[in-house]
Symmetry: C2
Subunit: 343 residues, 2 copies
Amino acid sequence: MTQIKKAEKITLDHGSGGLASQNLISDLFLKYLDNPLLHDLEDCAILPAQKQKSRLAMSTDSYVVDPIIFPGGNIGELAVNGTINDLAMRGAVPLGLSLGLIIEEGFELAKLEIIIASIADCCTKAGVDIITGDTKVVPRGKADKLFINTTGIGRVDEHINISGKNARPGDAIILSGTLADHGITIMTNRAGLQVSGDLHSDTMALHHLVQALLAENSAAVHVLRDPTRGGLATTLCEIAQASGISINLSEPDIPVRPVVGAACELIGLDPLYLANEGKCILICDENAATDLLACMRSTEAGKQAACIGRVVDGPAGRVSLTTSIGGTRLIEPLSGEPLPRIC
Amino acid sequence: MTQIKKAEKITLDHGSGGLASQNLISDLFLKYLDNPLLHDLEDCAILPAQKQKSRLAMSTDSYVVDPIIFPGGNIGELAVNGTINDLAMRGAVPLGLSLGLIIEEGFELAKLEIIIASIADCCTKAGVDIITGDTKVVPRGKADKLFINTTGIGRVDEHINISGKNARPGDAIILSGTLADHGITIMTNRAGLQVSGDLHSDTMALHHLVQALLAENSAAVHVLRDPTRGGLATTLCEIAQASGISINLSEPDIPVRPVVGAACELIGLDPLYLANEGKCILICDENAATDLLACMRSTEAGKQAACIGRVVDGPAGRVSLTTSIGGTRLIEPLSGEPLPRIC
């Protein structure tokens, strides 16, 4: 860390591909993220041959969240967990992640170290490695602190068929936990609002939860989706459109932590539209719903899972909500941006 | 394109994950990049099962080049060709690319369309698809126009063993074409320098050239590397270090276009340190060098290939240059940044 301590801030040299870049890689990135594939420091990692009969999954996401460090997590944790979750939502077992950093000149190395250490922790918890990476530095004012791209590859067994197109009338809709924790945390944190009670991001990797569901009854799992940007409402509208079905939700069954609900009311935002970073929607065969809900609740990530609605016959893309007082309102997909840079 | 024409500029809504995002995807991205895997618009693409006994390669790069459109190419072409090349340098056949965009609010949609159309052209030429993607929009002043991450996956046959560690004394060093075209083009373009003669980026995908070499004699191919940031000098220093050998280059044999050489002299930069985006270094068994050089010259990308030096016994990491007048100078890796945002 000699080189790093001396510099204290990221300079353009750290992105040059020369000696300063190499020192950053060896003194910071390898210190936290080392593994046999990354260790080679080639521009391209090579994984061992995969077992036969599995397909390959690939997913990418860039993270531009502001602030980069927030209650319950930071941009690095989001980047690891978010891409693992996108793989998991197709039933894939993650094989490895790439890590692409775009850093603003002048960014504090101490903060970068906090974020890289978090990435390493998340990877360890998830059992997934960063296998290749890239770092670019842009002059001061040409980016905002730090942007991260993670791209993940995974293995999907031949018999798995999970897609946003697979919802069928009668299917149960199960949510893995409480809604809107991430969105409201970023929102209040950025606005400098003081909210009594504990608001924190729900960032969490869900692949172990998904693997438990698939082990329980893979044929009954029709759709999995993590309601990030646009929230539960937008995600369900997309699924209802893709599957050509309607959805009815039961408002009283949708779990929202009281402190989150109160903060949403205060700001005037609907938790149905706020981003989640550690939750998934499961749409499954109604006959398997009880078992799959119990299975989800037996996992760390799914303890507060609840059945929140049903797939019904009706116009493609229609999502309705039966409210606590028995009324019905139509749920539209998000059209504007309630909060930029939420993830 | 109704939605797009109306908006004309990227707004935060385009990155919200809501309707505006969906319109951007369907009206612009799918218009140019459509293919069966991308078409599903899931957050994660699933590729068919691969043939047995091949390993998986993965490489990532973020592109932050300034200007984003320059003589001979643009940021989108760099992003496609650059990541294909990183895969190719390990002997991988590309299977697919992800595309992650970070766009500054206010960016002109017409420019975005030019870039997406170029990406589509490069993909078609290369025979590689964008199979999954992600778009984020950040407020004005929080990024500079457009940053692109491409991550690629590829298939590597079991018998292929290409790595920066594999150079051996006696090996020939072959360069696939002229040096410094990309670096000097960006440099002069950004500085607004008028240089007589045609300066343009060399951005080009090299996987077909590499597959030709491997078909000719895969066992003789020890190292492949594309000398991007840091240039030929830095890349060879890294290889010499990783392989524990010394390298001797012959200056008169290194191909540099006269207009590039003149521009480098004018600005006072050494072409050995400037970035290339469509060239590769091949280090191969000396007995196969004549055939591999001929093979390279028979490809579109390698017409001007030349043997530029030898691997020799000596201290690890030592790279020397025998100059045109018969002197010897030591080549050091790049330590500072001659030019930020070159790629």
